[in-house]
Symmetry: C2
Subunit: 313 residues, 2 copies
Amino acid sequence: MNERPILVSEVGLRDGLQSIGSIMPTEAKMEWIRAEAAAGIRELEVGSFVPAKLLPQLADTAALVRFARTIPGLTVAVLVPNLRGAEAAIEAGAHKITLPCSVSETHSLRNLRRSHAQLLEEARAIAQALRALPRERRPHFECSLSTAFGCTLEGHIAPARVAVLAEQLMAAGCDEVGLADTSGYADPGAVRRVVRLVRSVVGQDALTGIHLHNTRGLGLANALAALEQNVTTFDSSLAGLGGCPFAPGASGNIVTEDLCFMLEAMGVDTGVDLAALLRVRAVLSRALPGESLYGFTAEAGLPLGFGATAQAE
Amino acid sequence: MNERPILVSEVGLRDGLQSIGSIMPTEAKMEWIRAEAAAGIRELEVGSFVPAKLLPQLADTAALVRFARTIPGLTVAVLVPNLRGAEAAIEAGAHKITLPCSVSETHSLRNLRRSHAQLLEEARAIAQALRALPRERRPHFECSLSTAFGCTLEGHIAPARVAVLAEQLMAAGCDEVGLADTSGYADPGAVRRVVRLVRSVVGQDALTGIHLHNTRGLGLANALAALEQNVTTFDSSLAGLGGCPFAPGASGNIVTEDLCFMLEAMGVDTGVDLAALLRVRAVLSRALPGESLYGFTAEAGLPLGFGATAQAE
């Protein structure tokens, strides 16, 4: 069905850790990265280059990028809020940088204190800095269209607004746009419509990824709808850690283990060893003793005989 | 997409209440039935005609059938384990009876102490009793193919086995077969395959309903896959109450509120007033103070402006 391989991109180290109170020690984060890569996850967002006084939980992002780069075959991604963050990401050696771009301008102003015009200016500046680099040092530059399906401040977001901003960001020089359901407003029909509409404007190859939350329980149904539209990169968070601290009530990334279980059960190869992935939760339990871990598959366990027959048909 | 209207069939009064310790008073059950019907639910499974010493929680099923029949437009369904249960259902005036038929013979023997041969004999006896009735007193007779996607005792269930039993049950005289993911083993691909295969044997109109659990978090993704196959009746449980007490680790019906939210968000008319549906949870909180209530939509609330714009596009 899909020509590209399916990529599950772990974002718990960024989206998860930024929205909980506890600060995870760098050593534990490295253990998490190592264990999850060993379980077969091939892309990890290890942090965000924001000022440490805003998000002290992510102050060690540069060290994590340098560490994660030593793991063969792993794509090391980071979030960057601006040009300064992008420069730090380049210096640390990130393979992929993501600039969050909220389609809801109200959300953008509250979240990053930035209008769409300012956002596009920032994207252009980052693209220019990247073009000055030799190709082998140039990270892949994604703009993530947050609140693409709705916003807790503005409510419904018309798909045409998503397409307009996507086109502007591509013109500003990013390599790709992604869709993010920051507030858990997506449904499977909206996923189909928005993916199709945005691709009709930016092209099939410029939209390959989606970032879904499970706020109203529809996360995996939305992932299925995206898969059917040949979306190939799915963000998720181990044990469902985290959410968006700026969108009240919008917590809850989709759970990496449940997403991988769904895909593998369907015969979609994720490269992930599910039993090994489930064991990575122990790293979180030990390092974040006060925090809740989520996930249905971890609770229920894998089906009897899973892997032996279910995928054979 | 679908020619028939979509029907959300509430099974919490049976599948939910049978698997919790508390016994809900009959008056509270009646309040639940009344409130959920008023919120727009058009089919309710109000109980099961099993011996009261086995499931004292459901001992008032006959009284509930008689009460629910007084609500205009409501289809009153019950589970029956055998001919004796079917006779009680007929006497009480149920509109629909469901005989659970486990595809896993191991599960069937443990759960209802009955081989497939004995099960088919029971189905034939019920069908014969129904044929003797005048048409206006004859309930719709469904056989529910439980463990259709896998079994905690046998593991994977080959779809061909589901089709064989479905054909035998139709030959035995039931009006329709349903699929039940008793153990939470289904995935969207399996839902598609099994629905198509069974229909290729029994015909499109003889399989319209599915009973899904959310054991591994895939419940709504599986519902979406079923919807895309033109399945029109979806069992679910208010607040996710319950599961199957005979399949260890298989608890958790899909949540009525989340299912209705997904369908309504997609523009699929369920006839349900979501805000009113969410308020019915209060009946459960009051009558079952010690029991956990689940559901993402109830936790997060409806999206800002939901209903005004989301469905208009």
